[in-house]
């Protein structure tokens, strides 16, 4: 038996009323693979992540995680829409970091990182705190653990958000333009943490990004989205070095032009 892909989008469509945002998406991501999604604004990149995180329902198709359906469940050999218990079981494997951080403002960095491990995984407070301390150390914020989000810079908040997501030990991490809301001088520290995460943890990563340099250096594969479809995909040196599709060329040209 061949190894199951970590994630598989099987002919997935997403519509908002008459607007088709994703049109029959097929995408497989292997265990440990780092995949970047690039493309123009409105092409459906965020929607891909949100569907996988179950923040959006899908209209057609099935999403699979490690060979198990996420959006559906098996009943008498047939796939039926998943109930909440099933969704919660499968989505425990997935974590997400948002463009706008979404830290809990009434909790310190430490409290943000132990909330879910205690209430969802049932960890003991001391164990959860030990794990959170390690993760805050990993993101370089040990000394800020008792600070509230409002007392942290954007880059620091985003690093706490990464530690918080990691505290649930997901197998798959989703990053949606996690540096877009940051001042330019703070982008580097967040990317450095993501690099470290990729090196030190056995994580499958799927990231939407406008940082072409980072996508090129960090990813195993880059997918270029256009109008709700994958227009072109391949290893970063091929896609950036010798794009085959005219649309990809135009997009990369425009992005590099803008700096």
């Amino acid at each position: 038996m061949t190894e199951q892909p970590m994630v598989r989008f099987d002919n997935v469509s997403k519509r908002y009323g008459a607007l088709t945002v994703l049109d029959g998406l097929n995408l497989e991501i292997a265990h440990g693979e780092k995949v970047s999604i690039i493309g123009p604004s409105g092409s459906g990149k965020t929607t891909v992540l949100r569907m996988l995180m179950t923040l959006e329902t899908i209209n057609d198709g099935v999403i699979w995680v490690e060979g198990q359906p996420l959006t559906h469940m098996e009943r008498n050999g047939k796939l039926v829409p998943a109930d909440l218990a099933h969704i919660r079981k499968i989505r425990a494997k997935i974590g997400m970091v948002f463009q706008s951080f979404n830290l809990f403002p009434h909790m310190t960095a430490m409290q943000n990182c132990i909330e879910a491990p205690i209430t969802v995984l049932g960890m003991k407070r001391a164990d959860a705190e030990a794990r959170a301390a390690d993760l805050l150390d990993m993101v370089g914020l040990s000394e800020k653990k008792d600070h509230y989000p409002s007392q942290l810079s954007g880059g620091q908040q985003q690093r706490v958000a990464i530690a918080r997501a990691c505290a649930m030990r997901p197998k798959i991490m989703l990053f949606d333009e996690v540096t877009s809301a940051l001042d330019p001088e703070l982008v580097g520290e967040v990317l450095e943490v993501i690099r470290k995460l990729g090196r030190e943890h056995d994580l499958t990563m799927l990231m939407v990004t406008h940082q072409m340099g980072f996508a090129k250096e960090f990813s195993d594969r880059v997918c270029f989205f256009h109008a709700g479809k994958i227009c072109e995909q391949g290893p970063p040196n091929e896609l950036f070095g010798a794009p085959k599709n005219e649309r990809t060329r135009q997009f990369l040209h425009a992005v590099l032009e803008a700096g």
Partner: protein, 219 residues
């Protein structure tokens, strides 16, 4: 003489006992209103199909006078086998009436929570119960304390309605004193002063609670 000091002092102890009944009715009524209102607001979000029913219920309660609801619980419910003493029926009616108002206040509080807070909770796989208890409610409550406080004072000022079903609260006691002695000036004035004083005190307490909460919630 219009105002008789001796008489005023004479009736003071009786009124003080009645004041305790008024305060009890207020506190129990408001505790009921605040908690039932919260339950209604949470259920409306957590169990979407209840939305319509709860809206109709809330609208119904807010669009009929509290006095009618008090009468309903005290005089009509016994016809269906539910017999409540006057205090219980009255406090229950007040609590339910103000729960309808409080639920709207909570709803506004929940609506003001950024969507990202709910999404982060889902991404961390929190249950909806945990999401409300630890994430949403602690952020939603502090900004609505003033609005809830206003309803506490409003509820307190409506407790004289309980005199309509002969609960021995302040108004009813003043009425009895008046009808026994034919002097209404002192009891009515004293009751009015008492409400004035209590309203001012509660308003001050709410303001300091508000300041405390503002200081505690970091933003």
């Amino acid at each position: 003489m219009i105002w008789d000091w001796a008489f005023a002092f004479e009736i003071l102890p009786v009124l003080a006992r009645a004041a305790i009944v008024s305060i009890e009715a207020t506190l129990i009524g408001f505790a009921l209103a605040a908690s039932l209102g919260l339950v209604l607001a949470v259920v409306r979000i957590a169990v979407p199909w209840t939305g319509w029913t709860i809206s109709v219920l809330v609208e119904l309660i807010r669009s009929t006078p509290l006095l009618i609801q008090i009468f309903f619980l005290y005089f009509v419910f016994p016809k269906f086998g539910v017999v409540l003493d006057a205090f219980t029926a009255g406090v229950l009616a007040i609590g339910i009436h103000y729960a309808a108002y409080c639920s709207e206040v909570y709803r506004a509080g929940f609506d003001n929570i950024h969507r990202g807070q709910w999404e982060a909770s889902i991404a961390l796989n929190l249950s909806s119960w945990t999401t409300f208890r630890d994430i949403i409610i602690p952020q939603a409550i502090p900004p609505i304390v003033p609005a809830l406080g206003n309803y506490l004072v409003a509820l307190f000022k409506e407790t004289p309605l309980l005199s309509a079903i002969a609960v021995l609260e302040l108004m009813q006691t003043a009425k009895i004193i008046g009808s026994e002695t034919f002097r209404y000036t002192e009891p009515t004035t004293l009751v009015g002063l008492f409400f004035l004083a209590m309203s001012l005190v509660s308003a001050a307490l709410i303001r300091s609670l508000e300041r405390l909460l503002n200081r505690r919630t970091m933003r």
